[in-house]
Point group: C2
Chain length 310, copies 2
Amino acid sequence: MKELVFGHRSPDTDAIDTAIAFSYLQNQLGYDTEAVALGEPSDETKYALNKFGYQAPRVVKIVANEVDAVMLIDHNEPQQSVADRDKVTVTHVVDHHRIMNFETKAPLFYRAEPVGCTSTIVWEMFNEKGVEIPSKLAGLMLSAIISDTLLLKSPTTTELDKKAVKALAEIAGVDYESYGLAMLKAGTNIADKSESDLIDQDAKSFELNGSTIRVAQINTVDLPEAMERKDAFLKAMQTEADAQGYDLFLVLLTDILNSNSKGLAIGSTDAQAGLEAAFDQKLQANELDLPGVVSRKKQIVPPLTSAFEK
Amino acid sequence: MKELVFGHRSPDTDAIDTAIAFSYLQNQLGYDTEAVALGEPSDETKYALNKFGYQAPRVVKIVANEVDAVMLIDHNEPQQSVADRDKVTVTHVVDHHRIMNFETKAPLFYRAEPVGCTSTIVWEMFNEKGVEIPSKLAGLMLSAIISDTLLLKSPTTTELDKKAVKALAEIAGVDYESYGLAMLKAGTNIADKSESDLIDQDAKSFELNGSTIRVAQINTVDLPEAMERKDAFLKAMQTEADAQGYDLFLVLLTDILNSNSKGLAIGSTDAQAGLEAAFDQKLQANELDLPGVVSRKKQIVPPLTSAFEK
């Protein structure tokens, strides 16, 4: 019985590339799977797919119309997953996030590790199962790790991610540092894109103590240039927050070369107070200074969770 | 920083033996852990511990007084875990059950597979990490798999469990069939035990759509003898249900030689109706006939969940 394999909504390179890698591994092990995506690939992901000769996966909005069972990559929280996930059975999860609001009726395969990227876990699984990684697939998995760890510089990076990057770069036959920088830069071309597209490109929603929090991240190599569009970002964020009912919308503009972020935030008075408590600073004209912050998962979600659960 | 490793409350052989095995593996990998238990071992577990030269693990009721972090074996649902689990961080889970009401603030190691016993997963992990399994530890892990799969006869049994049993029996140097039968029989000596002890020995609570359901399982090689004590069981179940606020208390008396069960049940009118719907039969003087049923997880919890969620 065929199953679909997919990463989270607003897919990043990990969500798309690791779904392709895990689907390949599962098919080698006797499953019948297809990697799909819950959205179009970003410029960064397109760069990686193109470099290693892959097509972008088919985009789906619902899955119960075609399968009974699915495998989740790089997420478990329902609001980050496919709209009709309650209509299908989740048989496998490979993830590197906290577990929240995830429930099943039956036992399943669940593999989570606190590493920088889901592809690092899938790389381990290839090794454990003794399945060879094709060269171009190694390139995709390498791209996912470079993306999630910002070239091994994010505080989410572990020794295992470094080992995986070195092993995969060798299989793929690329210099991971020069390739990685080129791939990350390909994802920072924000000039051609509207603010409403940019704030939706790598965005996740979280339920924190009854509040719906949206956190988007936009990578750049020119933070001042990005900040010139601040008013337009705030306007797009407000429109989106009104439409979706977010209590707080935080957009991180992340300088990937210098590992710093600026935060732009809008939301209810209570939610803004929670954000200010989380980062121990007042919002200045909707702006937060976040020096050294590059990881939503490690440096944004935990302080927000603590502040909102008080 | 030391961590405690433990299985669920009312521990069975999997909960205790696999905690010992996983603690050993983690210590080999550089962690500092101690296997403990949330209750005393059953006669079956004592037989296995004694056979392979182990002491019963220290019993704890709370953990936050001595550690900040814990590793969970063979369970994830909070009501099956240590009383003060919300005061510590869960860093690792190894389990073979559904996931329910389990949430973390941060990423963690989570390894679940739909196999017959948690020790089968830990056996895989020893192999993946290239850590040698000491002979007597292999005996404990073998005992856990024999216990959970009723000597590979339960419908929860997978090919992987069979492979693990054969590999572990060879390392332990025992004939798994004759040893397994002797171990299972050691756990069926119910003559010396009170009804209130027996219904608490291998019992789990489930939250199903707002109802608290308790399901205990008692193995026997003489079902008619066990059923002679029916009235005393029902009385002990009522006392326990009143004290703990269970909406439904189901006790399975399982004939491990012929793979059949009788169910004894008490509870509210609504909950009894749910139970009857789940198994498509009326309770006859608090009794259910459950031919072929030996697995709480695979043959009891899913139909109950479906019936209570209607």
